[in-house]
């Protein structure tokens, strides 16, 4: 038996020194030494032994000649690639969870994909709950996420650009779009922004989102969140770009306008008039969520005379024994509500309702009976709190949670005049935002009559064209019916 000296022993020892958690299986045969390198935590051990080690051991002796090509074509049945022997390439493959097979007599090495990453099954959505819509939502596994999109979108024009982001994590990021629909400039802009990322690592889509925002106007989200594959596909058909980061169950969608943050996929599945009603209701809820408290301050402290006389008396009686002024009352209550919101989000689900009860009933009831707060201000703050949950995409509420305080201070300073100034500042800042070159307030400003109407009264059978503000390559969807 001829045992040849392994020419890559140095490479092997170098790799072992660099990656301490790799495992090794050495198979000796008449041609030399076959070394199988893998990371135990990322490898399916059953597949490793049944489809790689066992076939090599049993068939290595029965062939006249053995090299990387023969192993890849005749012996191993899994997905396998051949690379030129290179230490860095070996390390990269190992870090990606691949199983590396080194032949002591060959200048090539093999990389087999028998990765096994702990992953959860396709679950129901938590952020974008739907009543009628599909409930299969993205998982932390990029391949599963892409498969969910592919399953719905059998279009050869669907393009998936896989990019690597992060110096150390080298996370895969998929930029998905339909080539003959999506605007090329926007696609290039997205790709450019992702390629320009220079950081040690991207762990989840939230981190990626911060790199996709326009630097000058980061306050309002310009990228939407997508949790369900049907939402992603609807966006793709509109001409949008879906960005999925490896290891994140939430994908991103761009461009996104303010009005779209108020739409839910359920709206498309419901009757268009009901959907229109709900959309308008959400718009009101958005405005209420950050203006109600300020209006209460303006009416109570500055301009009670604009209220009907009955209400003036009721309001005055409610507040008669409260020691705090209207601004302090609302400000403190808003802070309490924000604390409750944070507490409810962070605690385990089993304790959540208990905190809700403690916050809403015990603190609320006690605060009113001890005359710390008046009941109306509690109602106002609760209403604004509830209204903030009416948004399908919660990220749009984040800037308004802060702007609410700005508006309250402006109102407490100058009354309704301050409210008007504050409101105008907010509107101006919203209007000046753009999402990948698309006006944030489209299709209302700049106004496009057809799109504006369709944005409210939308149904698939009557929407023969895509929104003009997305400047898609293919503007038409179809005729509705054949």
């Amino acid at each position: 038996m001829i045992i040849r000296k392994n020419p890559y022993r140095e490479i092997l020892s170098g790799v072992e020194a660099q990656c301490s958690d790799i495992s090794k299986k050495i198979i000796k045969c008449e041609f030399g030494e076959i070394t199988v390198l893998f990371i135990r935590q990322l490898t399916d051990m059953e597949l490793l032994f049944n489809q790689i080690v066992k076939p090599i051991m049993t068939q290595a002796g029965s062939v006249d000649r053995l090299n990387a090509d023969i192993i890849a074509c005749r012996i191993v049945s899994t997905e396998i690639s051949i690379y030129k022997m290179d230490r860095n390439m070996i390390v990269e493959n190992l870090m990606n969870g691949m199983t590396v097979i080194l032949l002591s007599w060959d200048k090539n090495f093999l990389s087999a994909n028998i990765r096994s990453v702990a992953k959860k099954s396709i679950d129901s959505p938590e952020l974008f709950y739907t009543i009628r819509g599909p409930k299969d939502c993205f998982t932390e596994n990029l391949d599963i996420n892409l498969s969910l999109i592919r399953y719905r979108m059998k279009d050869p024009e669907l393009k998936i650009n896989l990019l690597r982001v992060g110096r150390r994590t080298k996370s895969r990021v998929a930029v998905v779009y339909i080539n003959d629909i999506a605007n090329e400039t926007i696609v290039n802009d997205v790709l450019q922004r992702i390629n320009a990322i220079d950081t040690d690592g991207i762990i989840a889509s939230g981190e990626l989102q911060s790199f996709l925002q326009n630097r000058r106007s980061v306050f309002f989200p310009q990228v939407g969140l997508v949790e369900r594959s049907d939402m992603a596909c609807t966006g793709l058909l509109e001409g949008k770009i879906v960005i999925i980061a490896e290891g994140s169950g939430i994908a991103l969608i761009a461009p996104k306008t303010l009005a779209e943050f108020l739409w839910s996929c359920d709206d498309d599945y419901d009757h268009k008039y009901l959907a229109a009603f709900i959309k308008v209701l959400r718009a009101f809820a958005l405005v209420f969520s950050f203006t109600l408290g300020s209006l209460y301050i303006a009416l109570t402290s500055f301009h009670p005379d604009i209220l009907p006389a009955d209400y003036i008396l009721t309001l005055a009686k409610l507040r008669a024994n409260v020691p705090l002024n209207a601004f302090t009352t609302i400000f403190l209550l808003e802070i309490v509500v924000e604390i409750l919101r944070e507490a409810l989000l962070r605690v385990p689900r089993q304790i959540g309702p208990a905190i809700g009860i403690a916050g809403a009933i015990i603190i609320g009831q006690a605060a009113i009976s001890s005359h710390v707060f008046d009941p109306l201000s509690l109602i106002i703050v609760s209403l604004s709190f509830l209204a903030s949950f009416a948004m399908p995409d919660y990220t749009i509420m984040n800037p308004f949670r802060l702007l609410k305080f700005f508006l309250m201070i402006a109102t407490a300073t100058l009354g309704l005049f301050g409210f008007t100034i504050g409101f105008c500042v907010i509107i101006t800042s919203i209007v000046s935002v753009n999402s990948f070159g698309v006006a944030y307030t489209a299709p209302y400003a700049p106004y496009h009559r057809h799109d504006a109407l369709k944005s409210i009264f939308y149904s698939k059978n009557s929407a023969s064209t895509r929104p003009a503000f997305l400047r898609t390559k293919d503007h038409t969807r179809g005729n509705g019916r054949k």
Binding site: T300, S301, P304, A320, I409
Partner: protein
């Protein structure tokens, strides 16, 4: 670097201003004000008096009154040689700054009305915190009798009177007259106006009629509530009245609904002619005896109604022309619209009191609760 520093400084400065100023300007929480709900203005022996009903927010209950709801309001009075002095006296008596925006009724006593209400109304014109939509009224009773006579179904006299007036205006049996309307008429200097008159009767506040004010805001007379039909047709576009008509051996009750009016002024050779044309819809509501009504009877009822309403309108106008020599029915607006130059030059009071009036009433019975025999 410089720009970042400047931006940070601007944000810091803005934040400091916003954080230090809250509550510093004209803000005053509603619960820290004395909310007035009714005001009675009186003049007696050369002194001005204010009688006010103020919401009692502190919740302190009086010992005498058993009914707790009545304790929600207190009565506060003040006096002075002038209105300013009376107001000054009032301010010194109130605990908090007075809030006038919730005033529900402004009442003038007959003494005050005789002396003239123009001065006080002009005071209100300049006071922005008074609503110009406060209803006006007068009374022959003593102010304290009115303020102490809180209706059983309301805690406040102000609210009770306002709601009473509102409800009868909505029912179509009265018309609204507020501070703004009075100021508008007074500004013309050529016409008078009517204000509801309140009276305490059987421990209840009732609207007993209307006080006639001349172009100077002085009381010149009173018209009883029974004679108001003709007047209401001029002011309330939704006027509704019931008439009892006797036809044959039956007595029919007819509901008259005001439809429209047309007033055409003509001015030739110094003679004013006013042509008043009013249309009404009518509903034969019920009769004292059962049985259908014939077409012929219906026509007779219609004619009888037309003549009766015409008579009421003519009588109403005649009273204003001959008894009071004052255009409180607002004909000047129609005349001014057609003859603006002449109106500015003329003595409207004289011209109006000698004007020829032709009135016509058209009644159309378009509904009947009683079967009609064809």
């Amino acid at each position: 670097m410089k720009k970042t520093f400047r931006n940070s400084l601007s944000i810091l400065l803005a934040a400091c201003i916003l954080l230090t100023l809250p509550g510093c300007w004209d803000s005053l929480d509603i619960e820290t004000r004395d909310i007035m709900t009714a005001l009675i203005v009186d003049k007696k022996g050369g002194e001005c008096y204010f009688y006010t009903e103020v919401a009692n927010l502190s919740g302190k209950k009086s010992q005498q009154n058993g009914d707790q709801s009545k304790d929600n309001f207190s009565i506060l009075t003040s006096e002075g040689k002038t209105f300013s002095e009376a107001r000054d006296d009032y301010n010194r008596k109130t605990v908090n700054q007075v809030f006038l925006g919730a005033s529900r009724i402004l009442i003038f006593t007959n003494r005050m009305a005789d002396d003239g209400i123009e001065e006080y109304l002009n005071r209100l014109r300049g006071q922005l915190d008074y609503r110009k939509t406060i209803p006006l009224s007068t009374t022959f009773d003593e102010p304290m009798d009115i303020l102490n006579d809180v209706p059983e179904n309301s805690a406040s006299v102000g609210f009770a009177i306002e709601k009473n007036l509102e409800s009868i205006v909505k029912e179509g049996t009265w018309f609204s007259m507020n501070v703004g309307d009075a100021l508008q008429v007074l500004a013309s200097k050529k016409a008078g106006f009517l204000v509801p008159d309140l009276a305490v009767s059987n421990k209840a506040i009732t609207i007993s009629g209307m006080t006639v004010f001349d172009q100077n805001g002085k009381r010149i007379g009173k018209i009883s509530a029974e004679n108001r039909n003709g007047i209401v047709y001029f002011f309330n576009p939704h006027a509704i009245f019931f008439y009892d008509i006797r036809q044959g051996d039956k007595k029919y009750t007819v509901r008259i609904i005001f439809k429209k009016k047309k007033i055409v002024p003509a001015y030739t050779g110094g003679q004013l002619t006013l042509q008043i044309d009013m249309s009404f819809n009518a509903n034969l509501n019920f009769a004292d005896k059962l049985g259908p009504v014939t077409q012929e009877t219906q026509t007779k009822i219609q004619n009888q109604l037309e003549s009766r309403i015409k008579q009421e309108i003519e009588q109403t106008v005649k009273t204003s022309q001959q008894k009071y020599r004052c255009d409180y029915l607002g004909f000047y607006k129609y005349f001014r619209a057609s003859y603006q130059k002449e109106f500015e030059k003329m003595n409207w009071q004289d011209v109006y009191s000698h004007a020829q009036i032709t009135a016509a009433a058209h009644v159309n019975i378009n509904e009947s609760n009683i079967p009609v025999e064809s």
